[in-house]
Symmetry: C2
Subunit: 513 residues, 2 copies
């Protein structure tokens, strides 16, 4: 146990630094960021001299901020904080607070002074991460204010900004946002967080593919028939209706998360294992996406919206009944699409991706369907249709499984598909870190591998933008309604054409939570 | 449950027939054959009109024979026969007995009359299997007596003979035996039983390889580094010392069993799945074995013999102390060897095979070691040496496992080998049949796939004969002694040359019995 923890602990030291969270009183900070930082602290993954500055519009002093944070940690931290009373106190001692109205320029002059004072008083160099835990429309504003008061200058220590998705709303706005951010920060200072990429299994896909002799030989058009990627959510939009209704599944899930998963699945092996090399390869995939022509959109993309449904005797609201959602909203809560990657490796291999809300299970998995053996020796003897699959389960119960044909015991040579699975949790005697923890440490040490790079973000927007445009402007493209607790509209199966195929339900060998 | 049993039951009907067991009072018949036939009876796999004639040198009548068989079934059958009293009685009603001295010609004239009487009285056609459960030196004698009295003629029904290994003692004697048998029987009437080939997992290797899209692409010299096959026995020679001392591990295990496993692992895909096509492919492998030159034998083959050892505080006899073993015997109880198959698929891929008695575990498994990925992307980050293996476990706890590198959870990209396994027993809700049951049914329906064909037997002898000759004639070839409960002489690792490799111990994910 001890040994494994040691193995998992980075040997590299993390420089003393300052983390400023804009929007520190917001939901994301309370639910995700602060618990993640506290966990890093408990795991001894924070530097010794570490300052955490909450920057929020609320007026409060350091002491009441610490009480607030303590309260939210007790509520949202997975660790029972009460069992670490001393450590919790230690942690809170690193916390500071500065009232900042993001739109008020002068507040940033004050912030600068506040940071300088703390820095010299506590002897922490001005290595600063600015975490933008704020609505996207404020990214440009805060960035320009930081620049205005020289808070971006690296003369006295490195500066990095972390921005949350969405990175833009369209290809145009993403390009514009990037331009604005880049006027004060270099690309290597900008960390675009995509918590999907922080997931262990997404990272593991890279290792699984490239550290083993037997995946790469079949990982191409010669052996792969098609690839399916499903990211299903069991819940609806909940109280995020206001945001979601202006976004929809394409912007919320496909443009960022699923495109990144596609990229990691499809990428060429990098020659060096570092951030730039990996991102050079993933962006190549996104740039090779075959554009979907406006007149093809109905053949390649199916959108859906959940409707009111009785589930287990209880009426579940439809999307249009959700809070802050327009009563005749055409926002999609489900997208299934077919795409092609025009390169040597994947030429003409279809990738089918889908995501949706109010589906029967919360599950994210990749299924690599292999072509059947070239000669069906046991054709007459197969009980089940013999297809081979490699399943990469991202969530929940992350793992890898292989589905293949074996002989049914007994006389004769009847073949039945069986499977074997590796559950990632078997490897970890200690817990698997949350995406945010992983990503925060990466930013602290300047490793941007798992962050989205501007060119990738743009390539992905370039691909989805025409679809969004067509949906908006072409009234003939249908929006299909689907009942809650189903796998979306039946029309999504039409993407497979006349192949008599269907979306595959999640792999049963993995338990779902 | 019912459905699976139905699936496993042959739909084909088995013709009414007669089974004559020569040596019916012997050990093999009592311990293996009769329990297997009884099991087939319980599984409704025997034809309705079925006659089982015991033919032995002992003088006894039908009734006392039935009592004898009942006794040995109660002792050796895995099913508690007492729980099937009626079925047991039913079964015994099919049993008959004829005293036959194998060396006495006239006894076969009587046997013929006895069979004819039973055949017409019980209305069973003269489809006859003659099972030679007798010492090999008697094969020719019994065969010639059968021929002499026309018991081989197929005018009034098919005739088949089943012979047990060893099929000869050398290339010369095997050829001679074959010639003798063939003077009265055609090749398609001769069933050379090799219970190894009746094992489900050996058969499953064929299905695993050829019904799946992802084994074949890597099953060749491009991706396979080496293949290891281990067939280890935990026990010594016991009371078989007399036989064993004239045989040794090379004749007892390598020439037949392990060569057949090599053939099934290495064979090309047949174009039709039938007995002849499969055996055409396996014999090609054996014929492609690169002959080991007399001066190379010490580099390619290591022989050993177990010596007296204290195991768990108890002194275990050495081989030379075993009953009926010569006190200065040079018979090998352990063989490890390296061999090459000179064809396009396997050119220069070494196969390492070993077998031995008094080893730490009873286990038979095949390990396909894949070459490392061509580019070691995670070289500096590997905790364990990253090699991929596909493990085909034949016995015990038959199954398939894959060993591969995965990322250790946590920050960074450290790689550790993990594995996933499929246990064959998971597929069978009903029991996996014993090799003898399977093989008997095959012979009854005339399916010789899992029986050794003459050309394969000869090819295998041709390969091992020069080694046996050299051992016999060249006093400079060492016989290494090894302690009981070890994996044989350390010198067996020298077969790997300067590759710094060693024999791999059996895969731990499979439990051993």
């Amino acid at each position: 146990m001890e040994e494994i923890i040691k193995k998992n602990t980075r040997k590299i030291s993390i420089e003393n630094q300052i983390l400023v969270i804009f929007g520190s009183n917001g939901d994301l900070a309370k639910r995700k960021l602060l618990p993640a930082i506290f966990q890093l602290f408990l795991d001894d993954l924070l530097p010794e001299n570490f300052i955490l500055i909450g920057a929020g519009s609320q007026e409060k002093d350091e002491k009441s901020n610490r009480i607030d944070v303590q309260k939210s940690l007790l509520e949202f931290s997975k660790i029972s904080s009460t069992s670490f009373p001393e450590r919790l106190q230690d942690f809170l001692n690193h916390l500071y607070y500065k009232q900042v109205n993001n739109k008020t320029e002068e507040d940033f002059a004050d912030l600068r002074i506040y940071i300088e004072d703390l820095s010299s008083k506590l002897n922490v160099p001005k290595n600063i991460i600015y975490y933008f835990s704020i609505p996207p429309f404020l990214y440009e504003v805060v960035a320009s204010h930081l620049v205005k008061f020289g808070l971006n200058t690296e003369e006295d220590g490195w500066k990095r900004i972390i921005v949350e998705k969405p990175f833009g709303y369209s290809y145009g706005s993403a390009t514009e946002l990037d331009k604005k951010l880049r006027s004060g920060f270099n690309e290597d200072q900008i960390y675009r967080i995509d918590h999907y990429l922080g997931k262990e299994t997404v990272q593991n896909i890279i290792v699984t593919r490239f550290s083993n002799g037997f995946f790469e030989p079949i990982w191409n058009r010669k052996y792969v028939d098609r690839i399916e990627i499903t990211a299903a959510e069991k819940i609806g939009v909940g109280n995020r209706g206001g945001y979601y209704d202006t976004s929809g599944a394409m912007r919320d899930m496909i443009q960022n998360h699923l495109m990144q998963v596609v990229a990691v699945i499809a990428m060429e092996p990098p020659s060096i294992f570092d951030s730039e090399s990996i991102r050079n390869e993933t962006v190549k995939v996104l740039q090779a996406l075959r554009p979907i022509q406006p007149n093809e959109i109905s053949d390649y993309v199916v959108r859906g919206q959940y409707i009111a449904t009785e589930v287990d005797g209880k009426l579940q609201d439809g999307y249009r009944q959700e809070k802050n959602v327009s009563a005749n909203s055409k926002t999609e809560t489900f997208v299934a699409m077919k795409l092609f990657i025009d390169n040597w490796r994947w030429g003409d291999v279809p990738f089918y991706i889908r995501t949706g809300k109010q589906l029967p299970e919360r599950v994210t998995e990749v299924i690599v369907h292999l072509k059947p053996a070239p000669h069906q020796l046991f054709k007459q003897r197969c009980v089940a249709q013999s297809t081979n699959m490699i399943i990469l389960r991202i969530h929940p119960d992350a793992g890898v499984a292989v589905d293949f044909g074996m002989k049914i015991p007994g006389a004769g040579y009847k073949v039945q598909n069986v499977n074997m699975a590796f559950h990632y949790s078997d490897l970890a005697e200690n817990k698997i870190s949350e995406a945010y923890e992983r990503l925060l440490v990466d930013c602290m040490i300047g490793d941007s591998t798992l962050y989205a790079r501007a060119d990738a973000v743009k390539a992905s927007w370039k691909f989805v933008d025409p679809i969004l445009q067509a949906w908006k402007t072409n009234p003939n493209i249908p929006l299909y309604f689907y009942e809650c607790n189903t796998w979306g509209p039946n029309e999504s199966n039409a993407l497979f054409g006349d192949k008599q195929l269907k979306w595959r339900n999640p792999f049963k060998k993995f338990k779902t939570d």
